[in-house]
């Protein structure tokens, strides 16, 4: 009974599962499948440490990160601005919503060939690709967040004599914030995917480039080390985001009873 609670009452069970899977990987690579495509975890970690220490992985992480953050940052600014305008003004919503509905289902990678034609294969292409793919979830969540603000709240702002700018600051932005952040979190994951994809196709640096190059030159432990690094990067980004979100909209979790 006590052990059960200790195990499943917290996330300890989940951590143990990860350790067991890694252990099984190590065991199977050493004793069951003697093939260079399935190196033991210890060998991958060794390669990861070497590449971190000599700076290779660090350089590639930052190459990926700045592209991703630039594209994502622009998507956040554009998505929120256009989304608020569409949520606020019915005419703009009617004008753009059908267009958005047609463009939105196009998978992000499909923009790549077009962008190569128009902006080439440099960093601009990668940043724009990330921007386009991350833009739509933020846009959609922002305008639906703004539109879901209750009329009573707008009436309240009016009786308190708030002008348009004040209403935006005091009501529209904070009121739509929970949904804006949902869009931003979805887009954060998308932006990493698109950054890696673009780097795998044409690049001379970044984690996508590093991982694919390792595979092509048959440095299999390096390849896995690149993937481990990606897992770590994605995890850290998401955790950081959740922290930031919890600070910003604590009222939302508290008032809706979620914690």
């Amino acid at each position: 009974m006590k052990i059960e609670r200790w195990l499943f009452g917290s996330r300890i069970s989940g951590l143990i599962l990860i350790a067991l899977l890694l252990g099984f990987w190590q065991f199977s690579a050493l004793y069951m499948m003697d093939t260079p495509t399935w190196p033991p975890v210890s060998r991958i970690v060794q390669s990861w440490v070497e590449n971190v220490i000599d700076g290779t992985l660090i350089v590639h992480v930052f190459a990926t990160l700045w592209r991703q953050m630039l594209g994502y940052g622009l998507a956040v600014v554009l998505g929120i601005s256009v989304g608020v305008a569409m949520g606020y003004y019915r005419a703009l919503y009617n004008l753009f919503e059908p267009l958005v509905e047609i463009l939105r289902p196009i998978p992000g990678p499909a923009y790549l060939p077009v962008l190569v034609l128009f902006v080439g294969i440099g960093d601009e292409m990668k940043v724009v690709l990330i921007l386009v793919a991350s833009f739509f979830p933020i846009l959609l969540n922002t305008y639906s967040g703004v539109r879901s603000i209750d009329p009573v709240q707008f009436d309240t702002a009016r009786t308190l004599g708030l002008n348009a700018v004040q209403t935006f600051r005091e009501l529209v932005l904070p009121g739509a914030m929970p949904q804006i952040l949902t869009g931003m979190r979805i887009s954060l994951a998308i932006s990493l995917i698109l950054a890696i994809l673009a780097e795998m196709i044409v690049s001379t640096d970044g984690l996508g480039y590093f991982t694919l190059l390792a595979e092509r030159t048959f440095k299999v432990p390096e390849m896995y080390a690149g993937i481990f690094m990606l897992a770590l990067l994605g995890y850290v980004l998401n955790r950081t985001f959740l922290l930031f979100e919890a600070r910003l909209i604590r009222w939302h979790y508290e008032s809706s009873g979620r914690r």
């Binding site: 209750d150 709240q153 009436d155 309240t156 009786t159 308190l160 004599g161 009222w251 939302h252």
Partner: protein
Amino acid sequence: MSLTRARFGSAEGASATQGRQGASPEVHGSHTPPIATSLDYLQINSLSKRFSAHGNYAFKDISFSARKGDFIALIGPSGCGKSTLLHISAGLSASTEGTVRLKGETVTNPRPDMMFVFQQYTKSIFPWKTVLDNVMLGVKYQSNSSRKNLQKLCREQLELVGLGQYAHYHPYQLSGGMQQRVAIARALARRPELLLMDEPFSAVDAMMRVELQDLLLQLWHDLGLTILFVTHDLDEALYLAQRVIVLSASPGTVADIVDVPLPYPRNQVETRSQSVYLDLRKHLYQLMVQQVVAQRASA
């Protein structure tokens, strides 16, 4: 057909004469009292509303007026448009015909001298702001005084409604009745003359409602407010108001205007057991039943 039409400017109402001193600044200085107590402080003139050009009327040809310092309750069956009437009075939406005049000026937009208290306090109070910041919202853009002075003013309003200790709480940490107190404090911080209240206590529990009613009467008396109070609860209307305006079923018209000659301060137990109260209650109850029956018949 049998319904009584609006008795415009009827009934002198109870004789309580509250009111801020030196009101009506637009009329020359010292001889203001006759103006301040005259019936043209708030005028609802033949007001009608329908929501589409050829749709049914929500209410039709409603007229009544109030003096400064009056406490008027508006009751009627659901669907009679009493809430819409209040929104129009506040300048939050437009009438189809007729006008609302406050101190002689036609109301087309919300004005700082009248404040609206909404039924849905969970929405009207912004959940992302603390209690104090919610109250501050009504004054911080309107006044040039320092933030510190405004905070002092807002804390005073919170004291008035009994929330002095809760300035830094968030709304989700408060009960419904306390949240509605925040809304009242926020309205008061703007120093309004007229409060328009749309079923403000209908969503709080019975004990809390009793407390809020007495709080409101206290504030009305102490601050010399004029109050137009919409409710579907005729006991609440009788207990609070000097005059009760009864609206008929859809489309709403004025079915009756009843004066409530009960003295203030009122007492939840004693006032409600006086024979005057009971007689009026019977009268209003009959009226309301008539309205409901008429509504059924026409439906």
